[in-house]
C-alpha cells in the first residue's frame, strides 16, 4: 500500500479540510462535496509519480445501495491536472464495505483522484492506493548523487551531496 503521508490530499473544495477524512483510516468519516462535479485525490509531489496497480475504497456508510450512487464513477491519473486518464471505472460489482478494483493503467502519474458528481458528493469514507512510487529524475546506474532533506513539521534542512 502506498503511504498517504507521501502525498498531499486535495479536492474540489480548495479550502476544505474534510478531504483528509477519506484517508484517515476511519470508515465512519467521509468527504462530502457540495459541487456539481466533485473530486478527491492525492498529489505525489514534484518529481514523484505513482504507478497504481489496484485501488481499494470504502463507500459512505450512509449509502443503502452503493451501486445506485457511484456506478460508473472513476479513478483517474494525470501529470498536469488537465489531461486525465482512467485507471478504474466503478462497475456493478461495487458494494458496501471494502471494495478492491484492479487498475487498468499502470502508467505512473503525479495526481490520482476519484471523480464523480453530486449524486455521491464523492463521499468515500476511505481510499487506499497500491503500487509503486517512481522518481522522475534521470539516473545513470554507476552512481547517483542525491540531496537529503530533513523535515520535522517546522524545520526543513537540505543536506547537499
Amino acid at each position: 500500500m502506498l503511504p498517504t503521508s507521501q502525498f498531499t490530499i486535495y479536492s474540489d473544495q480548495v479550502s476544505s479540510s474534510s478531504a483528509s477524512a477519506s484517508f484517515d483510516g476511519l470508515v465512519n468519516t467521509f468527504y462530502s462535496s457540495p459541487n456539481t462535479e466533485c473530486y478527491i485525490g492525492l498529489d505525489a509531489g514534484v518529481g514523484v509519480q505513482a504507478s497504481i496497480s489496484r485501488i481499494s475504497f470504502f463507500p459512505s456508510l450512509n449509502w443503502a445501495n452503493v451501486a445506485q450512487v457511484i456506478l460508473y464513477s472513476s479513478f483517474q491519473g494525470s501529470n498536469d491536472q488537465l489531461k486525465w486518464d482512467t485507471l478504474v471505472t466503478v462497475d456493478q460489482t461495487v458494494h458496501t464495505g471494502w471494495n478492491i478494483f484492479a487498475s487498468n493503467n499502470i502508467t505512473p502519474y503525479r495526481y490520482i483522484r476519484f471523480v464523480h458528481n453530486s449524486t455521491s458528493k464523492c463521499s468515500l469514507a476511505e481510499i487506499k492506493l497500491y503500487g509503486i512510487l517512481y522518481s522522475t529524475m534521470d539516473v545513470n546506474l554507476s552512481s547517483q548523487l542525491a540531496n537529503v532533506t530533513y523535515n520535522d513539521g517546522f524545520n526543513t534542512k537540505t543536506f547537499v551531496n
Binding site: Q6, A146, V148, N151
Partner: protein, 151 residues
C-alpha cells in the same frame, strides 16, 4: 533552549485548577511530551493567574494542551516552534538504488521527523537523543526498475 510566554485570557469568574500539561506535536499527534505532575507553578488568581513550567522539547512544532478541572482540555491557538539544534552533523553516505540508511547526528532532533530523497519520504529507523537514522527509500525510476526490479 528558550522561554515561551503563552497567555490565556479568562472569560468568566469560575475557578479551575490544572490537572496536566502536555505538548503535542502538530506533525504527528502520537508524539506527546508531558510536563511532570506538580512541577508547574501558579501564582495569582483569576485574570492575574500566571502558570510557569519547564519542559525539554525536541525540534519541531507543538500545541499546548492543558487539562483543567472541572472544565476539561484547553488548547492554545498558537504553535510553539522549536528550531533545529546548531550541532547538526552529517556526511555523504552511500546507499544502493534499493535504498538503505542515512544518519544525522544532532541533539534532540524530532522523533517524528522524516527525510525526503528524490521527493520520496523516508521514516525513522532508529532514534537516540544524539543521532537519528532514517530509511532511504529505493530510487525507483523507469531505468532502475527495468534494471533491478526494485519494487
Amino acid at each position: 533552549m528558550g522561554t515561551v510566554n503563552i497567555t490565556f485570557t479568562t472569560t468568566n469568574n469560575y475557578t479551575s485548577s490544572i490537572v496536566s500539561i502536555k505538548l503535542v506535536s502538530t506533525l504527528d499527534s502520537s508524539h506527546v511530551v508531558n510536563v511532570n505532575n506538580g512541577t508547574w507553578n501558579t501564582t495569582g488568581t483569576g485574570v492575574s493567574a500566571n502558570t510557569t513550567f519547564s519542559v525539554r522539547l525536541n525540534a519541531g512544532p507543538y500545541k499546548l494542551l492543558v487539562l483543567s478541572t472541572p472544565y476539561g482540555y484547553i488548547e492554545m491557538n498558537q504553535t510553539v516552534n522549536v528550531t533545529l539544534p546548531t550541532n547538526v552533523i552529517t556526511t555523504a553516505q552511500k546507499v544502493s538504488f534499493n535504498g538503505g540508511l542515512y544518519t544525522i547526528q544532532a541533539s534532540r532532533l524530532s522523533p517524528v521527523s522524516y527525510i525526503s530523497v528524490n521527493g520520496i519520504k523516508g521514516a525513522i529507523s532508529s532514534y537516540t537523543d544524539y543521532s537519528v537514522t532514517y530509511k532511504v527509500p529505493p530510487l525507483v525510476t523507469t531505468v532502475t526498475q527495468n534494471a533491478f526490479n526494485l519494487a
